[in-house]
Subunit: 148 residues, 6 copies
Amino acid sequence: MKKIDKGIGKSALQLVLANSDEIEEAETHMKDSDFIYCLGKTGSMELQKVVSAIETAAKRNAVIDEELYREMHALYHAILEALEGVTRGQVSLGDVMRTVGLRFSVVRGRPYENEAEGEWIAVALYGTIGAPIRGLEHETTGLGINHI
Amino acid sequence: MKKIDKGIGKSALQLVLANSDEIEEAETHMKDSDFIYCLGKTGSMELQKVVSAIETAAKRNAVIDEELYREMHALYHAILEALEGVTRGQVSLGDVMRTVGLRFSVVRGRPYENEAEGEWIAVALYGTIGAPIRGLEHETTGLGINHI
Amino acid sequence: MKKIDKGIGKSALQLVLANSDEIEEAETHMKDSDFIYCLGKTGSMELQKVVSAIETAAKRNAVIDEELYREMHALYHAILEALEGVTRGQVSLGDVMRTVGLRFSVVRGRPYENEAEGEWIAVALYGTIGAPIRGLEHETTGLGINHI
Amino acid sequence: MKKIDKGIGKSALQLVLANSDEIEEAETHMKDSDFIYCLGKTGSMELQKVVSAIETAAKRNAVIDEELYREMHALYHAILEALEGVTRGQVSLGDVMRTVGLRFSVVRGRPYENEAEGEWIAVALYGTIGAPIRGLEHETTGLGINHI
Amino acid sequence: MKKIDKGIGKSALQLVLANSDEIEEAETHMKDSDFIYCLGKTGSMELQKVVSAIETAAKRNAVIDEELYREMHALYHAILEALEGVTRGQVSLGDVMRTVGLRFSVVRGRPYENEAEGEWIAVALYGTIGAPIRGLEHETTGLGINHI
Amino acid sequence: MKKIDKGIGKSALQLVLANSDEIEEAETHMKDSDFIYCLGKTGSMELQKVVSAIETAAKRNAVIDEELYREMHALYHAILEALEGVTRGQVSLGDVMRTVGLRFSVVRGRPYENEAEGEWIAVALYGTIGAPIRGLEHETTGLGINHI
Ligand SMILES: [Mg+2]
Ligand SMILES: [Mg+2]
Ligand SMILES: [Mg+2]
Ligand SMILES: [Mg+2]
Ligand SMILES: [Mg+2]
Ligand SMILES: [Mg+2]
């Protein structure tokens, strides 16, 4: 049994919360851990584009294997759960006249000491949500976690 | 117009994400800012107790004025929005056989440069959610923001 | 084909919105129409008691026939739809630390000119929702309509 | 402390419920009160257009100040809450093959005797919802209330 | 009072679950019963097309009378309830980057022994839901029942 | 690559739909497949008891390993998804004055030809939902599927 330094969810959240000064340290910390991850940005009034941007980044960075449905399924539900936190009630954006600008991270690894618990995935989102007018927005966050 | 150092939501999230080594720095940072805040813990299978613990802490620490309904209303909706992120789909705990152990923060202040935007409130939650059996749980987070 | 004076939903809403001066006129108006109705009050932190109070009043006043499931089913879904308007997001009260004080009406009749459209039912709710502390509350309403 | 004649929510509802005979009286009543308001109509299968029509009317009639995000935020959440009552379950229209024809009102003022409670906003909706075929529709209503 | 052989919901489900070997038997069974029904297929990322395909089939096969709103209303709510089972949380498809391939059945008849319970309608759905990439999908089902 | 005879979801649904004449054949069919499963009944106004009955049966029949959170997590989310189909809108029972009588099945196995897709779990529910009065109820179903 290994010692778990920090949760997979907290790791994912700290990546999206890090500002430009902190991001290097956060990334170094991740590289020293057993977690693999990717980090990106997306902004849209179309929820579909947000889902797609996260899926594409996770595939391109080999955080998940796009050939395996079980991995895509695990990621997909983690994304949807993170979007519940971002949208807080109705998982929709443009339909209810709002837009998001988000940083996202996808982290994969073994967060439990018991090796048999296997791999899990965390999707963290942080950014702004609001009217499609600059400045009419407030912060928002979301975290989805799934076994993979 | 003052310079805003960090968002009210990010500040609230960093308070609940801080571990025992980091909390002192996080609290010092808050005390240097113009934000007021409180920090606490709550754990229950009853959502009602979670809502109540946050409301009570915010009142006792004078983050909100319990005599004014507009302040209680702002806090209440921020709590509910944060719980959407924690519960991701159905705002219920024991009814669907799950329990939470959460750290919470409530932060109040002026997050926009334009003074006319007035005061806002952020409620951040971070902890675990899962079956009512120790260890059968994963991380969860939520953030609610409202004008006050 | 008869001339429909006023919608069944509007009739139900006006009954719950009428103050003590207006209620007599509203009831007279209903008695002159082809609609049958009942009117009542309920207040609780338990949603179950709200549902039950409306069902009981509708049975006792013979607005619906409790022996027929199709009538109870029509009423039940109309109540649930009205509660969506009252609770606006999560159909729960005490679980999320809030309480309601409501006037309710159940109206039954033929709101469409075409007789073949048969009977419909409307459930209207109006009152207050808020913290379980007097005064910390605002108004709320809901309307559910179903064929019977 | 002033005497509150009628709730801000009831005032908003009565404006959208008034028929052509009653509207003049309802508007006169509003003008005699301390509330400011606007009134309009919107019909669409696109929820976005409904939200937009209400926001635009509230801005143009100076019921809210579009320069201030706190005001737009208060209005936005009141609109969403009102739409929960209209849609009763899933805040969507065309996606689930239905359309609305609605009258809306936005009322702003001080509904509590205690002046410190400040200004609040009410959004009321009343009209029809149904299939995109004339006549295949029933009434619907919604009310959202927020501090401003 | 007649003897009810099988529930209207179970009948509807068995029609959509039947494979090519079983469908003839299932249809024969339906023709021997007092239920009328239709059966079809639909696949889309647009929920609107799914709703529309079911409504159109039910009209064309005279399972419901499209001239009567009460029948269309009964069918519509049964479809929406069935879609809750298919989508499990947010009634949306393409907006959250997923697609469905479904068989559907609409069954109409008298499922209760008491003749006064009248006619009811059942909508059953069975098929796959998943990413818009062949194979990245799992099974899904839904059942909606309403009085007509 | 093996030939998949029938989906894991369809298998789970047919187990709960089988009447007393059909259950033996359905169970024989399952025993000939590579799927493992359990079957049970539960009835309650408390959703918690429904969740608990399914979890307990799955553990006792060794369909899942209760020592592993990843297995419990997979099962839990499959149960919640199945309950969305049963409750169709608000995942609650007694709170909205209704009760269920359900048969449930939990099926585990490899439903995809590609062995790398690994094991999946299906939870199927079928029975009645309605008022807590005998006979005032209609059929309901739900299916949840997850990778394990
Ligand atoms: Mg989970
Ligand atoms: Mg907001
Ligand atoms: Mg309807
Ligand atoms: Mg409120
Ligand atoms: Mg029903
Ligand atoms: Mg899935």
